[in-house]
């Protein structure tokens, strides 16, 4: 692959590019689903895609190809150079990273050695156990397993070269329960790099726990509530407003915190860090899409906004150095993105965080359509539990939770001392109690 990439870069430079870089994403994947005690679907794939970015006379041109034959790559080069001719001048974007040696990282690669038969058996067992444990389960609409082994490559015309392997195996199931005219459903999944380390019982128990409880769920009365999001829903909520940390969005005036650098955006003891190779994270991401070696970045320090995510272009605009958060897919233009999030623990015990009455949110619906990342307003459907002193006293569904992200982090009343992680092991946060969120129910 390295030779093909180098040859395409040479061709682009010989065709008139001032500089260029290439991203290749390649991968193999297998997925299967099981229904009614038998294999229902089985899917295999093997693909690769090459994305070329050229800079000519300070103008950017992009192209991609899924074919790696010489003619296709020459066509892609010609297209990128032609596209550059019609773009406007971009004073900030350049190809400037020159590393002294190749960077090759494999510690996020797949380690699974299980056979296909074992994987099929795992999916079948997920379904049969769910059905066996509760007679009200009418179906497991989503039940299966998928495995992917990907490799990404980066090279630029200054000779910088990097490769990273990423692999994962995930198993998932769901339980649709019916009891009279009441229905409920919950979905849970497991993530790992080796089938033998996946805890099938954990997945089954989580799926059944909430779907059984939610058969009895009802809305709470409308009003203001204190809320604790589980780490999955908190991570999803932060993800909707990730543009608040983007330097590119700040330049394009679509980041509401554009002018807030150095100002207070959260309560005093709230600290949030982007940690590319956090020790417990599932994925360690060592190098960004411009070939920059990553490092930890403090986004919010004790309530004060400290940094946006930068690539070399946004860094030049703001007169800072890149934070190593460049993101570009083979088909897309240069942007920025996060890696793993770490919210630093607070001082309260979990019992103190759970003191009194609050809503525990387990599942949210419509986050992306219900969250407006320009105005900060959000309103989405939620399911969970009404709790008192840490005990679930009523299963809750068919409610909406609404607020404004600009105020949300100022509404934190308590933060726990122990870190929890979300299902994909990319967000690490203590229990956080938010005050004064609006709930619409009965």
């Amino acid at each position: 692959m390295k030779n093909i990439i180098k040859k395409t870069i040479d061709h682009a430079m010989n065709s008139g590019a001032d500089s260029c870089d290439i991203i290749v994403s390649s991968g193999e994947a297998m997925s299967l689903s099981a229904q009614d005690g038998r294999l229902d679907q089985y899917k295999l794939s093997k693909t690769a895609i090459l994305g070329l970015r050229v800079i000519k006379n300070k103008r950017i041109g992009l192209s991609y190809s899924e074919s790696f034959d010489e003619d296709a790559l020459k066509f892609a080069t010609k297209a990128a150079i032609e596209n550059a001719e019609f773009s406007d001048i971009n004073e900030n974007e350049s190809i400037s990273i020159k590393n002294s040696s190749d960077s090759i990282f494999n510690d996020s690669a797949l380690k699974d050695t299980s056979s296909n038969e074992e994987k099929i058996e795992f999916a079948l067992k997920l379904e049969s156990e769910i059905k066996k444990r509760d007679s009200r389960v009418t179906a497991t609409p989503y039940n299966g397993l998928s495995i992917s082994n990907n490799r990404s490559f980066y090279m630029n015309s200054l000779g910088t070269y990097a490769e990273q392997g990423h692999g994962s195996l995930s198993a998932y199931t769901s339980a649709l329960l019916k009891d009279g005219d009441k229905t409920s459903m919950h979905y849970a999944s497991l993530l790992g790099r080796d089938l033998k380390h996946l805890d099938i019982n954990q997945c089954i128990e989580e799926t059944l726990e909430h779907s059984i409880n939610w058969l009895q769920a009802k809305p709470v009365p409308s009003g203001k509530y204190e809320v604790i999001f589980n780490t999955d829903t908190l991570s999803d909520l932060l993800g909707v407003f990730s543009n608040y940390f983007s330097a590119k969005d700040a330049i394009e005036k679509t980041n509401p915190w554009e002018t807030k650098m150095g100002q207070s955006v959260a309560i005093e003891n709230f600290t949030m860090i982007d940690s590319p190779f956090y020790k417990d994270a599932f994925t360690h991401d060592y190098i960004d899409s411009e070939g920059v070696l990553r490092k930890d970045l403090t986004l919010i320090d004790n309530g004060v906004l400290k940094s946006f995510y930068h690539n070399t272009a946004t860094a030049k605009h703001f007169g800072v150095t890149t934070t190593g958060h460049a993101h570009r897919g083979a088909k897309s233009s240069l942007n920025v993105s996060s890696t793993n999030w770490l919210i630093k623990p607070g001082k309260h015990t979990d019992s103190e965080v759970k003191d009194g009455t609050y809503l525990e949110v387990i599942d949210v619906m419509g986050l992306h359509s219900g969250g407006d990342n320009i105005s900060g307003e959000f309103s989405f459907g939620a399911s969970g539990y009404l709790c008192k002193d840490g005990k679930r006293i009523q299963p809750v569904k068919e409610i909406t939770i609404a607020g404004n992200f600009n105020k949300l982090l100022f509404g934190i009343t308590r933060m726990g001392a122990d870190l929890k992680h979300n299902n994909s092991m990319g967000t690490f946060s203590p229990l956080i109690r938010f005050s004064d969120l609006y709930v619409a129910g009965k």
């Binding site: 192209s63 066509f75 971009n90 407006d372 459907g381 129910g441």
Partner: protein, 461 residues
Amino acid sequence: MLLQKEVAHDVIAYAISLGADFCELFIEKTSVQNITYNSKKIKDISSGIDSGIGVRLIYGEMALYAYSNSSKKEDLLDMVKKLAAQFSSKHTGVMKTFNFTPLSYKEIKYLPKKDVLLPQKIETFKKLDSLVREKSPLISQVSLFLIQKEQNIEIYNSEGLYAAENRPYIRLFADVVAADGNEQASAYTGPGRRGGFSFIESLDLNQIAEQTTKQALVTLKARPCPAGEMPVIIENGFGGVIFHEACGHLLETTSVEKKSSVFWDKKGEMIAHPSVSAVDDGTNDNLWGSLSIDDEGMPTQKTQLIKDGRLENFICDKLGNIKTGHMRTGSGRRQSYRFAPASRMRNTYIDQGKSTLDDMLQSVGNGLYCASMGGGSVNPGTGEFNFSVNEGYMVKNGKIDHAIKGATLIGKGAEILTKISMVGNNLEWTAGMCGSVSGSIPTTVGQPAIKLDSILVGGQA
């Protein structure tokens, strides 16, 4: 021809010899051009070609699928071999020969493709940007995005079918941000059609500028929405997203075959208010979700889903037909060769009624008027849904009153159909993308204005 008939023949014959009941090849070559514009500049122009082949084998009710960028015969045979490896020992087949008969079908009409050079496209962007900015000094950003693609597909299968279609698509996205002090609000529109640049030339850019600017400015000054149960009017066009998400997906055989849809056993029964009729139609000329043939090579059709409140048909693909016995409706769709086909919607809408907006406002008295809906999602098992309101107003004493923001509608798909008590006379369609098991595909949603007697509204007041 994207794949030689002889290669297709040998691959399919090999699959059948390994005991498969059915084998299908889906060959795709799609050229794409994207132009991104914001801050009054062309940021980047990107182009590329997606190309690959998907192979599907069906054993009984089980579907096996593999795809690759390679069109070499040995790679295709290898894919079939790997797919069948798990199952061929339990099945035996014989080597057969196939005569592929090209499918003749009635082509839907689409707006001419028309070759337009980049400078003319860029000129359109600059004109639209100026039109938006001259509407108000509060406009702080105009972001525009044009996607143009031409999908060429071929399908061969073990029933002797050969079918091909050329599918040009074009869509313009306009995103407008208004700012006043610390307050910001945005609005968005995204017209799209089957066809070429002549569609963009046919658009009234001034009207797009006016509509998006108005929505952003209205939201900027809007008050928080009160929460609670209330009667709601949902305007035409993209308002149809609720029917699409909360009911349409539950009528696809991918849900019906798992019995996860509340409607799986309701064919022939009244599932909606008698004022409601709904259609899923693949044959409308020019529309974004139209297809001459589906991605299994079947000519598309107009499918009456609900007639006067009664469930008439499901949306059914080949596998859905095998598993449920319902008739195929030309609805087997996929994003690309990377996905096996599944039963999916095309242009889905609640059909024209008789009421006027005034009739509805009068009957509501006090409630919510949703002039423009955002997106949403639905839990397919329980039918619970959640949709955001992009532009909304409170209704007081039968009249539209002040603007509100941050409103969400939540409910259950099966219940909502019975709560539609009035259907308007202003049917309109809007382009959208629908994500599901077989990827993200172009679909049209539509409806006239509808009145819901009562629905839970989420808000902050």
